[in-house]
């Protein structure tokens, strides 16, 4: 192999090394999840012996509520995703294409939402939902996540990047603004919708804090809250295998989402980068 050929393979080798470094902790988590808690408490290096068990996964699935929590997480994540896509697309179109008084000021207000951390509003939000007696409902779990300044920003930028000639031609042909939005521009934003949809779904799936304090009834727990509730005190010591199995279990649906939408995600990110 010549020096030039070796040099050409260097990036691949570096990427492979990076991938291995990224995968190592994940594999470690999977390996720990297949060990008994007692063995790991006595010696964390027990992961290297040959005794593996599915007991930790049995313990998770053995709690019949876990499937209800998965369903709750799916409803919440999908509901949030649908809401964000609809609202962000409509708002993005409005900011990008419609002229109305105060448009720029309103856009700035929306963007300011990016700078407000959840911690700053969560008590007020909790009290508001308590006043409306909405806690322990899907509405309470989904609604706050639908306020997505990032989504509005992303869709606005995407709509702005589409040549205005397209909608002008449609308007000349007598199309309404909604027809232009729905039939002409929206199909062109599918890559952005996919990106926003995936990230919103992931964010909804991983959400912990708000469901923790809004869903105080066990049947309304999402998966993240539910599996955390299964942990005993000092789980990191006395239930390390169980803890790792929970991490794998909670992460599996996300992995499935990635596997199914991998092509779309890559296209979307590449497309967005190209712009």
């Amino acid at each position: 192999m010549s020096a030039r050929q070796a040099l050409a393979k260097l990036p691949v080798a570096l990427v492979a090394l990076g991938a291995a470094l990224m995968a190592a902790p994940l594999l470690w988590v999977v390996a720990l999840s297949l060990k008994s808690n007692e063995a790991l408490m006595a010696d964390p290096n027990a992961v290297f012996d040959r005794h593996f068990t599915l007991a930790n996964y049995r313990a998770i699935v053995g709690d019949g509520q876990v499937f209800g929590w998965i369903l709750n997480s799916l409803i919440v994540s999908l509901g949030m995703t649908a809401g964000v896509l609809v609202l962000s697309s409509l708002a993005g179109y409005g900011f990008a294409r419609l002229k109305f008084p105060g448009r720029n000021a309103l856009f700035v207000v929306v963007l300011l939402g990016l700078a407000v951390p959840e911690q700053a509003v969560i008590i007020g939000r909790h009290q508001m939902f308590a006043w409306a007696a909405l806690h322990n409902t899907y509405f309470a779990l989904i609604m706050p996540g639908m306020a997505a300044p990032f989504g509005v920003f992303l869709m606005t930028q995407f709509f702005r990047a589409i040549p205005a000639d397209l909608d002008e031609a449609a308007l000349l042909d007598g199309a309404s603004h909604f027809t232009v939005f729905w039939r002409v521009l929206l199909p062109l934003t599918i890559p952005a919708q996919a990106t926003l949809g995936i990230f919103t779904f992931l964010s909804g799936w991983n959400e912990y804090w708000w469901p923790l304090i809004s869903a105080t009834r066990k049947d309304m727990f999402t998966l993240t809250v539910g599996i955390a509730s299964q942990q005993m005190n000092f789980a990191q010591t006395e239930g390390l295998g169980f803890l790792m199995a929970q991490a794998v279990f909670a992460g599996l649906p996300i992995l499935v989402v990635y596997l199914f939408f991998q092509k779309y995600i890559v296209q979307a990110v590449a497309g967005a980068a190209g712009r």
Partner: protein, 434 residues
């Protein structure tokens, strides 16, 4: 017409659905979930560990009380965020597991119901509780919870290594009676075994530092909280308490930079002679000692925190059931909740198999409890276990601050006087704003 028929059918179908006539008691608890192993278990003798015993006790209660349904919200430890959220939503559970050190936070805001009358109606008197358990739930002359246990930091001893160090007499570990004796014994231990005397939890956790510190101050007859709203750490007693562990640290007589998991695994691997951790580890260490060839197979002993100063006391806390105030709770629900408490009081022995100390005096005195592994050595804690002053609020965050400053002093990151001054300032900043 068609629509009416559909409605009638729907009504009939909904009438056919089984309607649960039982009175629901909603509880919020920690200790984890283990439905897979214990979901159907009602035989208390077959349950082990906090989660297993708690789950089985609740199953057993339901089996013995078919008119009551216990609806459990199992929460990630300790669950106070969820409780606060539920209270804020006017939807509190009927009973909640709560540490004695946290009761004042909720009681002071009128969020708990006193239990005296209800417990008395079930035949339970505060005088039935151990001194430590009673101190944990009594505030302003009222009883704010049913104690189910007391717990504190214990000295778990590797007897095999202690024997090698010449620190065993009549099969029992020789414990120090003063800071100087502790230092001498620790030096002797290291000289003869080549290992540190202590295996300590000193990384990513501050509770251990704070609890040891409290114990050593209390043992000198001092009190870090002169009143529930005022901390005083600028005292010679507080300095002396930190100096004990500073000397141990400086002389390399302890493991360093180990977190909770590493310290537990280290002790089980024979890394050192004594690990300072709570009552809940007794069963695990005892089981490890029973395994031939393990680092603890030379023997395992456990003792209360030794008396290094004038008074024989140990800082202690405990787990309790409390009843959040709820005007909407019906008399039937209240009665069912009190029956649940009576069941727990009656089964205090079963819960004490977790390793925690019983809350009932009658249990401590039984041969049944005393014959459990190592329990006889721990019985004195029912009297010597001492919480911080009742009425002191924010004990969890205060524990973190005290632990942080104590850790800084012990490791030498700060002079002891500076750490105590900072501790005093930071803790009083919290108390002054209550």
């Amino acid at each position: 017409m068609k629509r009416r028929v559909w409605f009638a059918l729907l009504f009939l179908l909904s009438s056919c659905a089984p309607h649960d006539q039982r009175t629901a008691v909603v509880i919020q608890r920690f200790f984890g979930a283990c439905e897979a192993d214990y979901g159907q278990q009602t035989d208390l003798a077959k349950a082990d560990g906090e989660c297993g015993i708690m789950t089985t006790m609740i199953n057993r209660f339901e089996a013995e009380n078919p008119d009551v349904r216990v609806s459990q919200n199992i929460v990630f430890w300790p669950g106070y965020d969820q409780l606060t959220a539920a209270l804020s939503s006017n939807n509190p559970p009927d009973l909640v597991t709560m540490h004695g050190s946290v009761i004042a936070d909720y009681q002071a805001r009128g969020l708990l119901d006193p239990l005296d009358a209800g417990l008395a109606a079930q035949g339970i008197q505060p005088s039935d509780f151990t001194a430590a358990a009673r101190r944990a739930v009594t505030l302003g002359g009222w009883t704010w919870g049913l104690p189910i246990d007391s717990w504190t930091t214990l000295w778990h001893v590797n007897l095999g290594l202690f024997r090698k160090a010449g620190l065993v007499r009549d099969g029992h570990p020789i414990m120090p009676h003063s800071p100087a004796e502790l230092l001498a014994q620790a030096r002797q231990f290291k000289a003869r075994t080549g290992k540190p005397y202590f295996v300590q939890i000193s990384a990513n956790e501050y509770a251990s530092f704070a609890r040891n510190f409290y114990t050593l101050i209390l043992q000198q007859g001092s009190q870090p909280f002169a009143s529930p709203t005022r901390a005083n750490f600028n005292t010679p007693q507080a300095a002396a308490a930190l100096q004990v562990f500073r000397d141990i640290f400086t002389a390399d007589l302890t493991t360093k930079n180990e977190d909770y998991s590493a310290a537990i695994a280290g002790f089980m691997a024979g890394e050192g002679g004594v690990v300072l951790v709570g009552t809940w580890m007794v069963s695990d260490f005892d089981a490890a000692a029973a395994k031939p060839g393990s680092a603890l197979s030379g023997g395992y002993a456990v003792v209360p925190f030794p008396q290094l100063f004038a008074r024989n006391v140990s800082w202690a806390d405990g787990h309790n059931w409390v009843m959040p105030a709820n005007p909407a709770r019906t008399a039937k629900q209240r009665n069912a909740a009190y029956r649940f408490l009576r069941f727990f009081a009656a089964h205090d022995y079963d819960w004490s198999r977790t390793g925690h100390l019983p809350a009932m005096r009658s249990v401590i005195q039984t041969p049944q409890w005393q014959s459990l592994p190592h329990r006889a050595e721990l019985a004195s804690l029912a009297v010597t276990g001492t919480p911080l002053p009742k009425g002191l609020r924010r004990q969890f965050p205060i524990e973190t601050i005290v632990g942080q400053e104590a850790a800084a002093a012990i490791s030498g990151a700060k002079p002891i006087s500076q750490a105590l001054a900072d501790m005093d300032r930071r803790v009083n900043a919290i108390l002054n704003n209550l």
